[in-house]
């Protein structure tokens, strides 16, 4: 964005948002490690994040009517890792979490999503990811963000999680282990996060892999509405989102950075985190009265 566009975004924010919310969001600019032109070295631009907020906040408030609890578990500063269950075909789950962290964490923080590799090759989508603060999921990117004391959001299920058939909803796919290794090595607390409601937004009944490969995606999902209704089929079901932030898990207090090299230990700890999140999901599902409430 040039200076004019940035001013315009700030002006729109001034008109649309209540003062307190606006000030919270504008304070996020202080978290930018500016390389000199209003961007950090990953391409994050606070004004773009603000523009995304203005749009996605409408989805957050009126479409998914997000309810969340446990914000006090998000550290006010310093490196930390939100470890989240992945679901819903399109990663709206992370966008809702990022909005929620901006809205409700005290002080507000930018959650930096770690996105699957294939997204880096997709025109415009790669830009959307970068400007909003997320990064492509290479190990080096995660390390750099943790070194810079950022709050990162990881999905250890990967695309397998987001692509589960509807019959497998809320059953976690076995976690990848890399996040535990980094959490120990960089002494970052893990905040387990359970998202309820995203599984129902696009009930997946099949996959078209060959078309996905042709277009640069892992697969093209088939839902009751997509691709039959064209782009209209991409409108998600307005199921209510419930987000739960669990208590921080500080593996680094029990294990030395050298332990990060022990594959058995890392596997065990990743399974342990998975178990905690599965438990949070199960409890959340018990509390939920219907997918719309």
């Amino acid at each position: 964005m040039d200076e004019k566009q940035r001013k315009l975004v700030r002006k729109i924010a001034e008109r649309l948002l209540p003062r307190e919310e606006r000030e919270r969001l504008l304070s996020l600019k202080d978290q930018l490690i500016d390389e000199g032109f209003g961007y950090d070295k990953f391409g994050f631009e606070p004004e773009s994040a603000l523009a995304y907020y203005l749009f996605f906040n409408l989805l957050y408030k009126y479409w998914f009517r997000v309810k969340s609890e446990g914000h006090k578990n998000i550290p006010p500063k310093g490196r930390a890792m939100l470890v989240i269950n992945h679901s819903g075909m399109i990663p709206i789950d992370f966008i809702m979490i990022a909005i929620d962290v901006m809205k409700n964490a005290n002080p507000p923080r930018i959650a930096r999503g770690i996105v699957d590799h294939f997204a880096g090759a997709l025109p415009y989508i790669n830009l959307f990811i970068q400007r909003g603060g997320s990064v492509i999921g290479s190990r080096e990117n995660m390390e750099e963000l943790l070194k810079a004391d950022q709050l990162i959001g990881v999905f250890p299920e990967g695309t397998k999680g987001i692509g589960k058939p509807f019959s497998q909803r809320y059953k976690l796919v076995r976690f990848n282990v890399g996040f535990v290794e980094l959490a120990i090595k960089y002494q970052a607390p893990i905040i387990p996060v359970a998202v309820i409601g995203a599984e129902e937004q696009f009930p997946q009944i099949g996959k078209i892999r060959w078309l996905g490969k042709l277009l640069g995606f892992p697969y093209i999902p088939v839902t009751p509405t997509f691709p039959w209704l064209g782009l209209l089929g991409l409108i998600p079901l307005p199921s209510r989102y419930h987000i739960y932030y669990g208590k921080p898990i500080k593996f680094y207090k029990r294990y030395s950075p050298d332990s990060a090299q022990d594959p058995e230990l890392i596997r065990r700890l990743a399974d342990h985190v998975q178990k905690i999140i599965q438990e949070m999901i199960n409890q959340g599902l018990k509390k939920r009265k219907s997918i719309f409430k």
Partner: protein, 325 residues
């Protein structure tokens, strides 16, 4: 308390290859006015240019030497000028930047020349340091490349890569393989896109085109370095007791579109596959020196060199901002 760089008291006597290039000329001037430097020998493939006439012969000697010709290079190393100057440092800048130069085989100069020079330095007792100006174009960029590229990141060994890139990787690898020796400290400096007057780096050419075609849907974060900082970094490498590979990071880091806007260029976004055809046509018609095949990944994926080793070990900080517009 900050540790200070170890700077030896003995003066550096320097041989500069490619002294007639823009960077070579700037490096020569910088060392000429550097009190820690004793004698300088500048070599190039052309007769002594006029701009070296002002330098005192007691401190600077220009010699016409073709480093491709082993005999000429050998003669240089046994010449009285070389022996009397007690050359102990070599700064290797002789590298063909342009893609379009047809008067010589770039591969021969870039790779064979580097090999000849390295061999000669290895066999010459007095030489203690060899500094090579490399580039971030040696790195392989992919959609999943990290945004910040460390020195250990994969080099571009893609067999389909343009010869221009292969040369840089080959020369860089030659220097790295020679690092095993204990006698000479070999320093490889990998520079980002160099910007400055009369600099014919690919990005300098790209940013200064009147109409710029940009890949649609991509806007990578790039890093630019001022030519003055290139010279300063080389000076640091010569005077600091270091060896190994160092990424050098310039002061300007931003999306490509920001630099194009600051430079007031007319930008036309086009799909990448069309961009390669447009560039091929421009290239054939001689309308541009910018060559898309060597830049296609650098115009799509972010590449910011890591400054960790540069700051911690080389203790170099770039000071100069690039001027746009």
């Amino acid at each position: 308390m900050k540790k200070k760089n170890k700077i030896k008291n003995t003066k550096k006597n320097i041989l500069i290859t490619g002294a007639t290039s823009t960077i070579g000329r700037m490096v020569t001037e910088q060392f000429y006015f550097d009190k820690r430097v004793g004698k300088i020998i500048g070599i190039g493939r052309i007769d002594k240019p006029y701009y070296f006439n002002d330098y005192s012969p007691s401190r600077f000697t220009y010699m016409k030497v073709d480093i491709l010709k082993y005999r000429e290079l050998h003669n240089l190393f046994i010449s009285p000028e070389f022996r009397d100057s007690n050359i102990n440092t070599v700064v290797h800048l002789a590298f063909v930047e342009e893609v379009s130069r047809r008067d010589l085989d770039p591969h021969t100069l870039n790779v064979e020349g580097t090999k000849n020079l390295l061999d000669m330095c290895m066999n010459t007792k007095g030489i203690k340091k060899f500094v090579f100006k490399s580039t971030i174009y040696v790195y392989k960029l992919k959609p999943n490349s990290p945004a910040i590229i460390h020195e250990g990141w994969d080099l571009n060994f893609d067999p389909t890569a343009p010869q221009w890139i292969k040369d840089r990787v080959d020369a860089d690898m030659l220097c790295r393989s020679a690092m095993e020796n204990d006698r000479i400290d070999i320093v490889v400096l990998r520079f980002p896109h160099i910007i400055g007057r009369n600099i014919n780096s690919q990005m300098n050419i790209y940013l200064n085109q009147r109409i710029v075609f940009k890949p649609m849907g991509f806007d990578p974060i790039i890093n630019l370095i001022h030519s003055r900082d290139v010279v300063n970094a080389i000076q640091y490498a010569v005077h600091t007791k270091v060896k190994g590979v160092f990424n050098i990071k310039g002061r300007e880091t931003a999306p490509l579109s920001t630099f194009l806007r600051l430079n007031k260029r007319k930008v036309i976004p086009v799909p990448p596959f069309i961009l390669s055809s447009i560039n091929a046509l421009q290239w054939k018609l001689g309308l541009t020196d910018f060559y898309y095949p060597i830049n296609k990944d650098f115009l799509k994926y972010s590449c910011v060199p890591s400054s960790e080793r540069m700051e911690k070990i080389l203790k170099f900080t770039p000071k100069n901002h690039v001027r746009f517009g």
